[in-house]
């Protein structure tokens, strides 16, 4: 039986406290009026003189924008200033939302991975089932937090989703046409259905998984198999719609038909990476004795393969839009390449080149510290992926990776670690009566 160590518990609480302070600073320093917003942009240079890696690159950009209002301050109309205010007010919200969604999507990706293992009756992975179930336990708090943020958006506490603004819709024919789908109540009903379905499967599958260990026959196992197969159908549809709702609709004029797959690839690879990291951590503490380096090798193969899969989808989306060059579509990439050059191209290096070169060699996939290093880069890269998906439409060129963003990441990282390891300590780490457990113990490649 695993018990959460005091050091880990304290570390996660410290992360949460530090993160909460960062989030609080972010909200308190956001401007309340148009005048404040203009003053902030004008003095942007002094405000962020830190030695952060992003700062150097961003500095020159900021200089340009900082100079712009002074040069033709008079010609600025009120709506532009209002827009600037909304962007600056959005920043702490967007930072909170990106981090909340990122950690939620890790557990959602693991949920899909777990369901695939069960539906495929995989023989290698049963030893890791408890780890996966531990990570998916975060679905409940993570899902509730994301839902609350979405509900607050519907309640006009922020301007993350521009289609929720009745004034904007009144002047926009395209949004009027989409309002049958994109309206507050239906949006929240959909979110509730998605979350209810995912959490129901998670809790029921976990119950069956634990019951299987105490049972004398395999009925629980068979039930779990059927449940998982049915869940995968539900998941594919709801995950895709979730990605339109929660991410694509921040830019409601733009759409991409493979967006659901693209977000799925991101959450899948992040989830598998976290399974590998948690497994390696638990092994280093002397648990999960039967997990050998062939299991780590398999997880690393998945990390490698799904990283390539993510790149394939990213590029498929990019190339078609770049090639056809239709203004309403290509604007998505123009804003990203013009205003988000470093995170946009940095993300491709971190999510594609790095895992490709690091994890290509078969022997390296068995070396724990190699997998951990690649895993940390992959996770950071996929955080940037979500960052790039949300920020351009909510914060625009006022983006920055500073206290609100890092604070939100720390807070949710702490909550994630605390919740996941607490769930891991609630049941034995090794299933005993799974029909494939012997195969998994002797898994060798």
């Amino acid at each position: 039986m695993y018990t959460i160590s005091n050091r880990l518990k304290i570390a996660s609480i410290v992360l949460m406290v530090l993160g909460a302070i960062g989030i609080g600073i972010g909200f308190m320093s956001s401007p309340g009026t148009v005048q404040e917003a203009k003053a902030m942009v004008a003095s942007h240079d002094d405000g962020h003189g830190g030695g952060h890696a992003v700062a150097a690159e961003h500095h020159e950009e900021v200089n340009d924008h900082g100079a712009a209002p002074e040069a033709h301050g008079e010609s600025h109309d009120a709506s532009h200033d209002e827009h600037l205010l909304h962007q600056l007010q959005n920043r702490p919200w967007a930072a909170l939302y990106v981090a909340a969604f990122f950690f939620f999507m890790i557990s959602l990706g693991v949920l899909a991975f777990n369901a695939i293992q069960r539906a495929a009756q995989a023989g290698w992975s049963p030893l890791l089932f408890r780890v996966m179930e531990g990570i998916t336990s975060y679905l409940v708090p993570g899902g509730i937090i994301v839902f609350v943020i979405l509900a607050l958006s519907v309640a006009h506490m922020n301007h993350l989703f521009v289609w929720m603004d009745a004034e904007v819709v009144a002047n926009d024919k395209l949004l009027q046409g989409k309002s049958g789908f994109l309206n507050g109540p239906f949006f929240l009903i959909r979110a509730a259905i998605f979350l209810a379905g995912w959490i129901f499967y998670r809790e029921y599958s976990r119950k069956l998984s634990l019951a299987q260990d105490a049972a004398t026959d395999d009925t629980n196992f068979v039930k779990n198999f059927r449940l998982s197969a049915a869940f995968l159908v539900f998941y594919l549809v709801t995950e895709s719609m979730m990605s339109w709702d929660w991410i694509m609709s921040v830019d409601p004029h733009w759409f991409s038909t493979l967006f659901g797959w693209y977000i799925f690839a991101s959450m899948f690879v992040s989830g598998i990476t976290v399974i590998a990291l948690v497994t390696i951590y638990l092994k280093s503490k002397g648990h999960l004795q039967d997990v050998n380096n062939s299991h780590i090798h398999d997880l690393a193969k998945f990390m490698f393969g799904i990283s390539i899969f993510w790149t394939y989808l990213w590029f498929s989306q990019f190339m078609l839009i770049w090639y056809s060059n239709i203004p309403e579509e290509v604007t998505y990439y123009i804003t990203r390449i013009e205003d988000f050059k470093l995170p946009f191209f940095g993300m491709i290096a971190m999510n594609f080149l790095f895992p490709l070169l690091l994890l290509m060699n078969s022997d390296f996939k068995r070396v724990n510290w190699f997998v951990v290093m690649a895993g940390i880069v992959i996770l950071a890269g996929h955080y940037l992926d979500i960052f790039n998906a949300i920020m351009p439409s909510t914060v625009g060129d006022q983006w920055y990776i500073g206290i609100p963003e890092i604070g939100a990441v720390l807070f949710f990282a702490g909550l994630f670690i605390f919740w996941v390891f607490r769930a891991l300590s609630k049941a034995p780490l090794q299933p005993t009566r799974n029909p494939f457990i012997e195969e998994s113990k002797h898994f060798h490649y």
């Binding site: 590029f315 990019f318 190339m319 770049w322 090639y323 056809s324 060059n325 290509m360 078969s362 060798h444």
Partner: protein, 173 residues
């Protein structure tokens, strides 16, 4: 000089694996094992050196990538620049996304085909090649282990009989 070899036949891959391990433990050199299908872990049990085919695959992939880049640069940029979809084709880098599918496909094509050809050459296989396996049954349901004899015929015979061989023959090679 013709040498004498001993052939032990097995009908099960698990029995064969155990036999290989036993023979290796007794410090005999296994010349070759003929199987109707690939047996997982046999190469390691026989003490064969790990394959280097993956390294050649990487090199071939790089060659494919270079060929694709050079080829597309010549065709689309240097020799006959074309304006497709409003993209002026005077710079390879600016048009790179359009060439990525070709770069990818040729990387895979070169890696796959050259790897197969390398494997055939390394295994001394080519069209109309006479089969080398000493017993036809190894293409059906028998496994055959071949060990060279160095004045230890009886000892080997004894050892192989113990490992569960269904048939043991001695032949000139």
């Amino acid at each position: 000089m013709a040498s004498k070899v001993i052939h032990a036949l097995y009908t099960d891959d698990d029995v064969l694996m155990h036999a290989v391990k036993k023979v290796k433990e007794a410090k005999h050199h296994i010349e070759e094992v003929y199987c109707p299908f690939p047996v997982h872990g046999l190469d390691r049990a026989m003490g064969l050196a790990p394959t280097r085919i993956a390294i050649t695959a990487f090199i071939y992939g790089c060659i494919g990538l270079a060929v694709a880049t050079t080829m597309m640069n010549f065709i689309m940029i240097e020799d006959w620049p074309q304006d497709i979809g409003g993209k002026p084709s005077f710079s390879y880098l600016e048009n790179m996304p359009a060439f990525v599918p070709i770069m990818f496909e040729l990387t895979v094509f070169f890696a796959a085909h050259l790897m197969v050809i390398t494997f055939y050459m390394r295994s001394k296989l080519w069209p109309f090649k006479e089969a080398e396996n000493p017993d036809k049954r190894t293409t059906d349901d028998h496994f055959l282990m071949e060990i060279e004899i160095h004045n230890n015929e009886d000892e080997l015979w004894q050892l192989l009989a113990e490992t569960g061989a269904v048939e043991i023959n001695i032949s000139e090679k």
